[in-house]
């Protein structure tokens, strides 16, 4: 199948799964539920679900089994954006072309939206899932929690707070980004392998692939922050430089970044070589992540 057709299908499928997983706005507390849906639905490239589905496809997994980990990782990602946009963090007013959650609702509600979305992510992944053994679900829950916590995404945010003062070098920036964005992307890929019952070595291979693609994702993001305008991105751009935060593209320039991206894609593709044609979608997903224009 053509990658972009497949991608649209998974994006639509993910939208439906997210809408079904989130509490109905008819249930109390209605304002909180409306705000949760506002923060999650109707936007986003769904990169993590795409990678999870493409990774599962390597092992011939039925898409239905990949909805729960895909929804869970996307809910964690969505909560992190809501909290990241708060005045005490990045103080952003625009996200995915819409007012950020605390602007549309209020700050206290946005705080609770993030908190409730995180809980909902774990609730979704801890639900009874036909076709996935409880022990595998537990492994995914443990990995997702670790990827979200102080040694993963939240820890990366903490390092990012200090980056304007600490001015980390290249190694420090890579560590920060591996935690802040890499951890969830790595989880998405590894989860596909876990649901697929992959052998430990294949699972590790998918996790390594996820780490390479996580770094590529962030490089592509920082390159866009440096070069694109905010209308194309649907959010503020040029903020890293304004905040005095070094990024690798800012340190080394656009040409260097494009070479790095090509290298990371080649490395990711190499990791998939043993899987042959079953990895066609995942290979294409890697290229997509590195070359995206918004």
């Amino acid at each position: 199948m053509d990658f972009s057709t497949w991608m649209s299908g998974i994006q639509q499928r993910t939208e439906v799964a997210l809408a079904a997983a989130l509490p109905s706005p008819d249930l109390a507390p209605t304002r909180l539920h409306l705000a949760m849906r506002y923060a999650v639905l109707g936007g986003g490239k769904r990169v993590r679900p795409l990678l999870c589905h493409a990774a599962g496809a390597v092992f011939g997994v039925d898409s239905a089994l990949l909805d729960a980990p895909s929804v869970a990782v996307e809910l964690i990602h969505a909560y992190s954006l809501v909290h990241d946009d708060l005045p005490c963090m990045d103080d952003d007013v625009l996200r995915r072309g819409k007012p950020t959650c605390h602007v549309e609702f209020d700050e206290a509600t946005a705080l609770l939206v993030g908190d409730a979305l995180q809980a909902h992510a774990f609730q979704t992944l801890a639900s009874r899932l036909a076709g996935i053994a409880p022990a595998r679900q537990l492994e995914m829950l443990h990995l997702l929690a670790a990827a979200s916590g102080s040694r993963g995404m939240a820890g990366g945010q903490a390092l990012d707070l200090d980056a304007a003062i600490d001015r980390p070098g290249e190694a420090g920036i890579i560590t920060l980004q591996a935690m802040k964005t890499g951890a969830l992307i790595r989880f998405a890929c590894e989860a596909g392998a876990i649901v697929g019952g992959a052998a430990p070595s294949d699972r590790e291979r998918l996790a390594e692939f996820g780490s390479a693609i996580g770094l590529a994702f962030q490089l592509a993001d920082d390159l866009l922050d440096l070069t694109a305008d905010s209308s194309a991105m649907g959010k503020a751009t040029g903020k890293d430089a304004a905040a005095g935060k070094a990024t690798l593209p800012a340190l080394h320039g656009a040409d260097w970044t494009r070479r790095q991206l090509a290298g990371l894609v080649a490395q990711a593709h190499d990791l998939l070589r043993p899987f042959g044609d079953s990895a066609a979608l995942l290979k294409a997903a890697a290229t997509f992540v590195a070359e995206r224009k918004s």
Copy 2:
């Protein structure tokens, strides 16, 4: 065993288990890890762990098996306090006799502390736990996530935000409190039964017990807010009235509240009747929760 001796033992045991579960402050990001430990360790009555251990004791469960659910529920409780104290929520500066987390550190760090503690709660409960079947762990994870989310604790906080404007009546206040504080207390009791492999009817009985005690806990808390001074409580008091938030003690007075508390304790004790002497600690814990003076 004398209840207060047992209680001190469980409180110490919980302190040790929490300290071991939290990431070391030697690990990066060190400031975040220091702040997480600051928010969790060295204070608190550990009511939820006490109830979890006492509930497990009904079924003869080894205490070691109850550490993970006890730590998990206490981490969720601790994160909720950190977020609840933030300027956009209750804007409190004093908690357990110490400066609140955002005062001692900063607002962005406190936000991330709460986020990371929530993830850590689920990570702890999703770890490999010898002696607990994966299916039971999953049940606990699902219950804890539901108790923490938009239909549990976080949802109760959202209703509480609106309470100054909506001015809910008695039924509304009870619903709000069942979500805001009752859900975690109910989880703590039900988790003890799950680890103990209780029959479904016994498990439901423990959950109902938890709901009664959750309501009693909140009534006792609101009574203290009405009658105690802040030095005895280690936090601000009289804030509910100042914020225009109705509580049942404020509506009905202290005498009514004491009668309600006695009724709830009697109801809770009745629920434990079938368990005979094995429920002695849990009975004593119920009395303790309702009659505490700080």
